[in-house]
């Protein structure tokens, strides 16, 4: 990959499995997501897991881009080093954005469309949603996403989003979630949205998925 001349700039986030860096390619700002080796895992298992997840995430991003969902475009994949090079999304994480409540409307459409494709995000928190300067909303980090999502997985997305909003701006959660649900059910249809919400209630009653 040396010939592609990536110039790595700074580390943006260090997660449990990947390091996210900002980099440049021909003066073009990009994101580099590197699933780093884990010393605790035996080498062959480690490589198999990192490689399959890298390919899975890249496939998912490409699938969603092709279907018009605002996610980062994939530029390159390095399945040997387990790296995805992708579009840098200019903007603010929704958890730090003053207009988050308003953007929930757009977010509802996007998540609705994604669920309409039977894709679940798997970690839909406000840290993984970016608001840009043109009223747009982008969804990032599909490391835990899944194809062929069932009702439960879609409901977990919605539940996680609500939990995340509640812990980020407790006083505006209600309005945020109302805005989200209105456009979500416009996109998915009322019956589908109702089904998901019923499941969310059930998940909530189990008292899991906390402290994010």
């Amino acid at each position: 990959m040396e010939s592609l001349n990536f110039v790595e700039k700074k580390v943006i986030r260090v997660g449990a499995e990947a390091v996210i860096k900002e980099a440049f390619w021909k003066n073009h700002r990009i994101i580099v997501k590197h699933r780093v080796p884990k010393r605790y895992r035996e080498e062959s298992i480690d490589l198999r897991v990192r490689k399959s997840r890298t390919i899975h995430e890249a496939k998912m991003l490409i699938h969603l881009s092709e279907n018009g969902i605002p996610v980062p475009l994939v530029y390159f994949i390095d399945p040997v080093e387990c790296v995805i090079y992708m579009q840098y999304i200019e903007g603010l994480e929704l958890r730090n954005h003053p207009g988050a409540v308003e953007r929930a409307k757009r977010l509802g459409n996007i998540v609705g469309e994604m669920h309409g494709l039977d894709v679940c995000h798997g970690d839909l928190t406000l840290a993984n949603i970016i608001a840009d300067e043109n009223q747009g909303v982008w969804v990032v980090d599909f490391g835990l996403s899944g194809f062929n999502a069932d009702l439960e997985e879609k409901a977990i997305d919605v539940h996680l989003l609500e939990r995340s909003a509640a812990s980020t701006f407790p006083t505006q959660t209600k309005k945020f979630f109302e805005n989200f649900l209105k456009s979500y059910s416009e996109t998915t249809g009322r019956d589908a949205a109702k089904e998901v919400l019923e499941k969310v209630k059930e998940i909530r009653s189990r008292g899991r998925y906390v402290a994010r």
């Binding site: 997660g15 449990a16 499995e17 884990k38 010393r39 605790y40 895992r41 035996e42 062959s44 298992i45 480690d46 198999r48 897991v49 798997g122 970690d123 835990l144 008292g207 899991r208 906390v210 402290a211 994010r212």
Partner: protein
């Protein structure tokens, strides 16, 4: 000074422990049912417990050097566990409570594993990995409850390793880990991590198939144990990252696994976290952990009436109000 007697009987172990409010374990008697063939048979295990109960209780008082009337409360494992086994322990506890006129305390078995680990390791406020024959979960204390951050979606990690060992004819753990030392090649078997949840049943089936297809036992054991432990370590690391805690406590029967400890330790070193492992004698099911948790509950008067002291075979750790947490 408060002294509590605790009775453990969720599965193969009938245990009686006596602990005082200084955190001193005065007695920890264990009578373990060993099936002649296969896994634990709930009825046979409960019959074993019933037969050994009186002897175990007497032995505990003798070891502790106290009289029955010296205790302040009787605690028992209320769940989760095998119904017949739980009922035997509960019956013994109710009898003692009524005869001695001491309050009765229903203890959650999982919470007890965690609390004894905290008592003996001095680990602060950790993320807890609780792995045993019947349970697999990653929990952390948030707002006075042990919240389940991740858990198995099907069978427990210990159950997977035991079941494989039994079907391969080498018996339950630690057999699979011992035979793994003879292995040299790792085969691809399903690695199922979903966020912080894990799933082991597919990997058990795959291992059994590998063995049938003629792969050497050592290689299958190596593939199985390495995969199971890697999955556990991964979800634990995720929980540490999410909660931003820097201390990890490993409890439950699988805490005896050297290789699991080694992997968790490597992960913790790389993250700058500290690993605390419950010592072997308190890793498996035991009465001391029930007594100690009973003692903590005694402090906030979480008593239970005898006529309401039903066992709860499917009780979850997040049902318990951790009233004793600061």
């Amino acid at each position: 000074m408060v002294t509590v007697l605790g009775i453990e009987s969720t599965a193969h172990t009938f245990g009686v422990g006596i602990v005082n409010s200084q955190g001193k374990i005065l007695a920890n008697v264990m009578k373990i049912y060993k099936p002649s063939v296969g896994g634990i048979h709930p009825r046979e295990a409960s019959q074993h417990h019933a037969a050994k109960a009186a002897e175990a209780v007497a032995e505990a008082f003798q070891t502790a050097g106290i009289k029955p009337s010296d205790i302040d409360a009787v605690a028992f494992s209320q769940g989760p566990g095998m119904g017949p086994c739980l009922r035997t322990g509960a019956t013994v506890a109710r009898t003692l409570s009524l005869a001695l006129r001491k309050p009765l305390i229903g203890v959650n078995h999982g919470v007890a594993h965690i609390e004894i680990g905290k008592l003996v390791t001095n680990c602060g406020d950790p993320v807890v990995l609780y792995v045993a024959g019947g349970n697999t979960m990653v929990v952390a204390l948030v707002e006075k409850k042990y919240r389940i951050l991740g858990e198995t979606l099907d069978i427990a990690a210990g159950n997977c390793l035991d079941a494989f060992g039994i079907s391969a004819g080498i018996g339950p753990m630690p057999a699979a880990e011992i035979y793994a030392k003879q292995g040299s090649k790792i085969y691809d078997i399903p690695y199922r991590v979903n966020g912080m949840d894990v799933s082991f049943s597919g990997l058990l089936t795959a291992s059994e198939k590998l063995l049938k297809s003629g792969v050497p036992l050592g290689d299958v054991c190596l593939s199985l144990t390495e995969t199971v432990y890697s999955m556990l370590t991964e979800v634990t690391e995720r929980a540490l990252a999410m909660t931003a805690k820097s201390s990890l406590l490993l409890v439950g029967g699988l805490a005896r696994s050297k290789r699991l400890c080694e992997m968790l330790n490597t992960m913790c070193v790389d993250r700058g976290a500290s690993l605390h492992v419950v010592p072997d004698q308190y890793a498996g099911d035991n009465g001391a952990m029930i007594a100690w948790t009973g003692l903590l509950m005694y402090g906030c008067k979480q008593f239970i009436n005898v006529d309401e002291s039903f066992v709860k075979p499917r009780m979850r750790v997040d049902e318990v109000e951790v009233c004793w947490s600061p």
